[in-house]
Symmetry: C2
Subunit: 205 residues, 2 copies
DNA sequence: GCAAGGGTGTAATCACTATTACACCTTCGC
DNA sequence: GCGAAGGTGTAATAGTGATTACACCCTTGC
């Protein structure tokens, strides 16, 4: 079987459908988007969509998990940049914030929350791949610092949780309030990271 | 109010419908609850429901805004209890937390978020009555303390925001993750309040 | 008691949309 | 070119559920 050509065609179709679906879900929400809308936008046919994704829920799954990236990679690469704990935390804060406030991510989160009422398992899998993993990555970073002799007040896990709450809370707020006049300036972010450093009694050097 | 007799019949009906609707919305979500379900549970008739609430959206509005209490009252009564700033903040934290983690409140928030995609105005009004008002109440409290000479590091408004993020973030997490193994112990709450006091450099007398 | 008007129960209406079925094309290896 | 395998377009199917219409039954003020 020379599947390359087969997969290629199918794959292109798949991708086009997922992309159209994502755009429409973000724009109008999951329930309000009809499969007809999606096919109109993506081209192709309803029959193919059903063959590939099974049903509408399967399509949502494909859309969501394509974008469900954990912040762990962001944290790791921020750490790799080197510097003092304070410098690294400032960098992590900025990078995470930028990622989590990406409008597409926010919209997807909003959709996932909406579905959480009827499908708990779905939302569990989503957050295991995103929030949970991000938190353990940060916990690890703090633990390592602690082992290296960096002074800090509190358990790494609890501190990681607090830090993420301070930084990512804007994602929650955005997802919840739909951009209700939040100011997420760079200064504000720096101030919060400083607040964290003070609260955790992490002294730079 | 001597109108009891007149209002009584209609009012009783109204209340029964709102109550049934709330229970069902919380249980199954807004979209999955049919007006038939509600009438079955509340008694009465579909015709009355339409006469009183106009349509399904009107009913949701009635349900949500009945429970949309701001945390401002909670804050005010915590303050009225007296004590040092630290003591008061600990009390506020506990009371707010208890209120915001009430399963009914969490479920309603989840529903509101779900609707936010299609109806921004609705969610705006909801959060203006709840979160926004809570935050200004706390800002006022901190400002007063500051004026009275309590040392603190940072603007009252920014600090109020941070405090609420630290304390109420569990509401977000609950609403978002649908109770994905969160531990919200009393110790954890106290630790976070302590963290806040340290970060804000508020010294207790 | 008794009309009148509000409340009730039921049965349409009406629109919508996921899902399936099916008969026609396209592509692609040969 | 050719013949499948797979893709496409369109038209059912089918279930749902908001909304409306309407004919009945209470309550209630007289």
């Amino acid at each position: 079987m020379t599947e390359t050509s087969e997969l290629c065609r199918l794959d292109r179709r798949k991708r086009a459908v997922v992309e159209a679906a994502r755009a429409l879900f973000i724009e109008q929400g999951f329930e309000r988007t009809t499969l007809g809308d999606i096919v109109d936008r993506a081209g192709g046919s309803l029959a193919t969509l059903y063959k590939v994704f099974g049903n509408k829920d399967g399509l949502l799954e494909a859309v969501v998990f394509e974008k469900a990236v954990s912040g762990a990679d962001i944290i790791d690469s921020s750490v790799a940049g080197g510097g003092s704990p304070a410098q690294i935390l400032h960098r992590i804060a900025e990078d995470l914030h930028a990622y989590f406030l990406d409008p597409e991510v926010v919209s997807l989160v909003r959709i996932v929350i909406g579905r959480s009422i009827s499908d708990r398992d779905f939302v569990r899998r989503f957050f295991e791949r995103t929030a949970t993993r991000t938190q353990s990555a940060l916990t690890t970073v703090l633990s390592v610092w602690q082992a290296e002799g960096v002074a800090m007040h509190g358990e790494p896990e609890a501190l990681a949780e607090i830090f993420l709450d301070l930084i990512v809370s804007d994602l929650h707020a955005e997802a919840i309030s739909h951009g209700l006049g939040l100011r997420h300036s760079s200064d504000r972010l720096r101030a919060r990271t400083e607040f964290f450093l003070t609260g955790a009694k992490i002294t730079d050097r």
